[in-house]
Point group: C2
Chain length 355, copies 2
């Protein structure tokens, strides 16, 4: 069966790193993988071309694909667009929602070769390997009512943080299963001492726990979780949380590694279809300068091969190639360090392909 892969370069450094992913996909084809690659516009690039960050054509192609690879969206160029529905971010949110990509897997792991890049003391982060499971199609990102309106003579802004039992259960199961495959520890993050929606969240996690007797479930308030990530991140194995807390904590966790330019992520729906993207953003400040680190994007290809295409062997080859390039002392600027060779985006792509 031919795997259809949709490549969405997006904005900022997106096109540069997507180009390296395209080369990698080509190499996979040459190695015998039956994949077909298409490209489409999303985000600011799509807005500029069609006045819409998620054109119908892109969405149709996405629906038809087995997997999607996304670079990054957004940038100051589009920050002035008043209408949220037209902003680049809406392209991303629209894809997540329309494809039902509720399960977001954000690994934060530290490559031993890059231990010194972390802002934390080496002993606190050596061997760090956390998996954050973030709910991605619900919560306050999508809740209604929402808007800005006049009340009692002044404007008021409002959003709704909402989860149903079934939404919580669905992401809970992804997290419990992930914990079973890993260190068997699951920490659910909420603010159940203040927010009713997270009281329900905690209750559903508790209800699921007996079905996964090999997993040790704990609960943590989000403020404490933010502290514990800074204080002793290795206490975590799998973390599960809602859309907004997940946004914040997964970025903090990724930054603990000091090398967010290395971290891929996956967003999956109920049928295993997935969108894969780097954890980092569109980095408009370095766009077009052949400076961006393409490794998170290339590792997103590996993650896609594993989770959506069932091509584990090829995924491992890519991950091993990245490891050996790091062993060889090659670094892009974001992870540069003394005694290592700093190279550009293209050269890093070359090195991985060669390895």
């Amino acid at each position: 069966m031919t795997h259809k892969v949709l490549l969405l370069p997006g904005d900022g450094i997106g096109p540069e790193i997507a180009a390296q992913a395209a080369r990698l996909l080509k190499a996979c084809q040459d190695a015998g993988l039956d994949i077909e690659v298409e490209e489409a516009l999303v985000g600011g690039a799509a807005y500029d071309a069609h006045g819409d960050p998620l054109p119908a054509e892109t969405l149709d192609k996405a629906k038809a694909a087995s997997a999607i690879l996304l670079g990054a969206v957004g940038g100051p160029k589009w920050d002035k667009i008043e209408d949220l529905a037209k902003r680049p971010e809406k392209g991303l949110l629209g894809l997540r929602k329309n494809l039902g990509l509720f399960g977001n897997l954000r690994p934060a792991m530290l490559y031993p070769q890059l231990a010194s890049a972390s802002s934390l003391k080496p002993e606190l982060v050596a061997g760090l390997d956390i998996m954050i499971v973030r709910e991605l199609t619900g919560g306050i990102y999508f809740g209604h009512p929402r808007g800005i309106e006049e009340r009692n003579g002044e404007r008021v802004g409002f959003n709704t943080y909402v989860y149903s039992e079934s939404e919580i259960e669905r992401i809970g199961r992804v997290a419990f299963e992930m914990a079973q495959k890993r260190g068997k520890k699951l920490c659910s993050v909420d603010k159940a001492n203040v927010l009713e929606v997270t009281i329900l969240w905690r209750e559903v996690m508790e209800r699921l726990a007996p079905e996964y007797p090999d997993v040790e479930l704990s609960h943590m308030y989000v403020d404490n979780a933010a502290m514990q990530l800074v204080r002793a991140p290795k206490q975590f194995d799998v973390v599960v949380t809602g859309n907004m807390f997940g946004d914040i904590l997964s970025d903090a966790a990724a930054m603990l590694t000091g090398s967010i330019g290395m971290l891929p992520s996956a967003s999956l729906n109920e049928s295993g279809q997935g969108m894969y993207e780097p954890c980092h953003g569109s980095a408009p400040d370095i766009a077009g300068q052949n400076m961006a680190n393409p490794l998170a994007m290339m590792l997103s290809v590996a993650m896609m091969l594993r989770y959506s295409l069932g091509e584990n062997a090829m995924a491992e080859r890519i991950e091993a190639a990245v490891g050996s390039v790091l062993d060889d002392g090659l670094r892009t600027a974001d992870i540069a360090s003394e005694g290592m060779q700093t190279i550009g985006t293209d050269a890093m792509g070359d090195a991985v392909l060669a390895a």
Copy 2:
């Protein structure tokens, strides 16, 4: 004029550290300050005694006081209370709301003597001095509608994140004024690429900016702020944000110092009345063991003297005393390090009083 101070020990280590604050207040009286100290119950302690985490008597005393000193509330003992309105946290939230304590000042600064306590590399945190200004009586903590109810055959939990222009303006002014007194940089944190309520937030901050031409205003998305705090915390001077983002970010920032047991906080209303409390929680695991660090609580007394009672000289004496105790190598267990002398709560109180 006699200053009325209300001491609310609360739960967990609250009573132990409050006892040290009481001794310090006594010493202030002996040194000629005209203060009158009363005590009352709040949180779990008040629930146990009166079935209510914020008894009317406590609230009345709080309203009549010039300033309130709070230890900490909450603990696993009360986590099973189903009704959020009866939980210890509600005592704290009720005080904030009823007294209109909308302006929460949470300094995160690193004592040079404790630089090694941070999990971050010393060069990243040396000299760290951030002031987080958190809105404390609005946002999702207090928004309506809220609850858990049945919809389409299943339970749904929901909360409302809401701010009016006037609420945003009020906290914005506190933050701009704080920035004027400090490094003249203000970073407003929002999620304006997704949440309408924070689009309004950003707009109001922009509107205020021209009135404070000496302050440089910037904006940052909350996920990025969580990353930047880990990556390069010294880039921040004053940070202003809403209730929930402030909860998360101020805890992360406090933990960057590695010595959250040292950090006081203030919550002020429009007439300068304030509640002062340590940034740390009730630490039930070490309660009753004479192990807790009383310094954040004693520094809260200093903050109270400065912000609510106008007694700057006495505030400085207390801060200097804490500095000299640290210089003498005295440490509680939470900030213990090699070559330093580890002492208990009482002994630390003694040392500060002696200094």
